[in-house]
């Protein structure tokens, strides 16, 4: 960025970038605007952009009629639970591969990656039958389990790449000073690993929140997270655009905000370190 650029060029790039950015963001912006309209205005032609009767009524209706909070709570519990359990299993595994690698570590890592490549639909039948026979259909526990296993390879990989960056010399120095492995973990490794742990947690929470294959197929009502709840708007009754928009806005707002914090980690987490 140190190169000299003419003022004209900056203005042209700026205008073009803002135009593209606006167009890409438009569907989301439009959805948010629609959520504050009445159903009639949401449907009106020509569309009303800002000069409409702003109302919060849709948000109240969505909660009253379909118990939005119940589904939001399911999303939080399922995404949070599956991510936390995955972290608990993954931290020791990633620690082991980063700090006590063996000849086979690389193969193990690549094998873990390949389990993520298995298309969910390929095992839909057995998972559905297992869930049915064990009474796990439409339960939060079942979804936590499935999403945890589904994201485990990504969690391990992300943690591994973060742990790899912690200089080993520091650990050795700690050990020379007589620190046990337990102390080393708590006092040396953990503080250095916190940023990596946080972004792994965040990105996988987002992925689990938005997961829409298992949640759609394995939940109907009791355990239905927001993905399934929003899908119920695909068979509408009467005018429903404003309510759909309100429910959607509530469902994506927290995640978009979290997502913006994880831009950098997104690349890292989803390319398995192949692009830096």
């Amino acid at each position: 960025m140190a190169r000299k650029v003419t003022a004209r060029r900056v203005w042209v790039s700026t205008a073009a970038a803002w135009l593209f950015g606006f167009l890409i963001f438009l569907p989301i912006l439009w959805m948010v605007l629609t959520s504050f309209k009445t159903e009639l205005e949401a449907f009106s032609m020509p569309p009303k952009f800002l000069l409409f009767h702003w109302t919060m009524e849709n948000y109240a209706t969505v909660q009253e009629r379909s118990d939005y909070l119940h589904h939001a709570l399911n999303s939080i519990l399922i995404a949070g639970g599956s991510t936390l359990i995955a972290m608990i299993i993954a931290i020791p595994a990633a620690w082991s591969m980063a700090f006590a690698p063996t000849k086979r570590t690389k193969d193990v890592l690549l094998w873990m990656l390949s389990t993520k490549m298995m298309p969910s639909v390929g095992v839909l039948v057995p998972i559905y039958l297992i869930f049915r026979d064990f009474g796990l259909l439409d339960t939060r526990a079942g979804l936590v389990m499935i999403l945890c296993l589904g994201n485990l390879p990504i969690v391990i990989w992300m943690l591994f790449t973060y742990f790899k960056e912690i200089p080993k010399d520091i650990l050795e120095a700690a050990r020379m000073d007589g620190a046990t492995i337990g102390r080393e973990l708590v006092y040396v490794l953990t503080p250095m690993a916190v940023p990596g742990l946080a972004s792994t947690l965040l990105l996988n929470f987002i992925l689990a929140w938005n997961e829409a294959f298992w949640t759609l197929n394995l939940s109907t009502l009791d355990a239905a997270p927001l993905t399934t709840f929003i899908a119920s708007y695909s068979s509408p009754e009467g005018l429903f655009w404003a309510k759909l928009s309100a429910a959607s806005t509530l469902a994506i707002a927290p995640i978009i905000i979290l997502g913006w914090f994880t831009q950098r980690q997104l690349v890292r987490g989803l390319t398995f370190g192949a692009v830096k």
């Binding site: 803002w18 593209f20 569907p27 063996t102 193990v108 559905y128 039958l129 296993l149 492995i181 692009v275």
Partner: protein, 290 residues
């Protein structure tokens, strides 16, 4: 530095993850393979019988399979083309000096964090509705006839929605790669009188070759199993117009309850995904240091 003690400890710490992933991978897959050789319907679960490879013969010669395969390939190919052909210039643009770049970045990335059911329904109703959608209004503004997206070009409508979701991913990865490009090299080329175009073709494009490959492979793996967007907008229709392989298998499993056939289809999907995965794993493995 790995002493024998840490070796043992390392193995102990690794075991739970490996065991879980192993079970997760092997048990359902083995069951799918087993079911795929059975004539087995959940509607008549008493009467099941071993039929060998009959389900595969049925699934692979079913005209619906060929349609679904074609739709899958068109969907994957089109979304890849759109996201890379738009993502590359967009990444180049965001790599320039832009006033308020971080805000533009946030706007560009946002669609990736929208859950699939929301983006599909918002596009279908608020944007693509043939009478009251935003696109219909734009069409009437310029004097064109509004398109009835989900009746006239249903597969293309699904492609647009999925491409909108994945454009941020391609852009972000290409942008990350651009920012790691050697600035001095570009400056030197400029001093030597290289035009912007030739510096793009000879320096930037080769630098982007690898990230583009990674984008293609990762997107392909996810795009092969696009499901929610089809589930909430078209239900695979009209007819079979938007049925991809994932949706076809879902229908056979949970709509027609044909376990045998759906399992055979599932294995076909696994084989297709594995071909892509093979290349991705090789690329990742090449620059992995343990």
């Amino acid at each position: 530095m790995a002493t024998q003690q840490t070796q043992v400890l390392g193995r102990a710490l690794l075991t739970p993850a490996v065991a879980l992933l192993f079970i997760w991978m092997i048990v359902p897959l083995a069951m799918t393979i087993y079911f795929s050789t059975l004539h087995y319907s959940l509607l008549d679960s008493e009467n099941w019988s071993f039929v060998g490879l009959e389900n595969f013969r049925y699934f692979l010669t079913d005209p619906a399979f060929l349609t679904a395969l074609r739709n899958t390939l068109v969907l994957v190919g089109s979304v890849l083309a759109i996201t890379i052909l738009l993502g590359t210039p967009l990444a180049l643009l965001l790599d320039q000096q832009v006033i308020g770049r971080s805000i533009v970045r946030l706007m560009v990335i946002a669609p990736f964090f929208v859950m699939p059911t929301v983006s599909a329904l918002v596009w279908k109703n608020l944007l693509m509705h043939p009478v009251s959608g935003l696109f219909a209004w734009v069409a009437t503004l310029v004097g064109a006839t509004p398109i009835d997206w989900f009746n006239d070009v249903p597969l293309f409508a699904v492609i647009l929605i999925v491409a909108w979701q994945w454009l941020p991913f391609a852009t972000l990865i290409l942008l990350t790669a651009l920012q790691s490009q050697d600035e001095e090299q570009k400056e030197a080329a400029e001093m030597d009188g290289a035009s912007a175009l030739s510096s793009f073709i000879y320096l930037t494009l080769p630098h982007l070759a690898r990230p583009i490959t990674v984008v293609i492979l990762i997107e392909t793996i996810f795009l092969l199993t696009v499901f929610a967007e089809i589930f909430v907008t078209t239900g695979g229709g009209p007819g079979l117009a938007t049925t991809n392989i994932a949706f076809l298998i879902y229908q056979q499993a949970l709509v027609q309850y044909d376990v045998g056939n759906a399992s055979a289809g599932g294995l076909v999907a696994v084989v297709i995904a594995n071909i892509v995965a093979f290349f991705l794993v090789r690329i990742v493995g090449r620059n992995l240091e343990t």
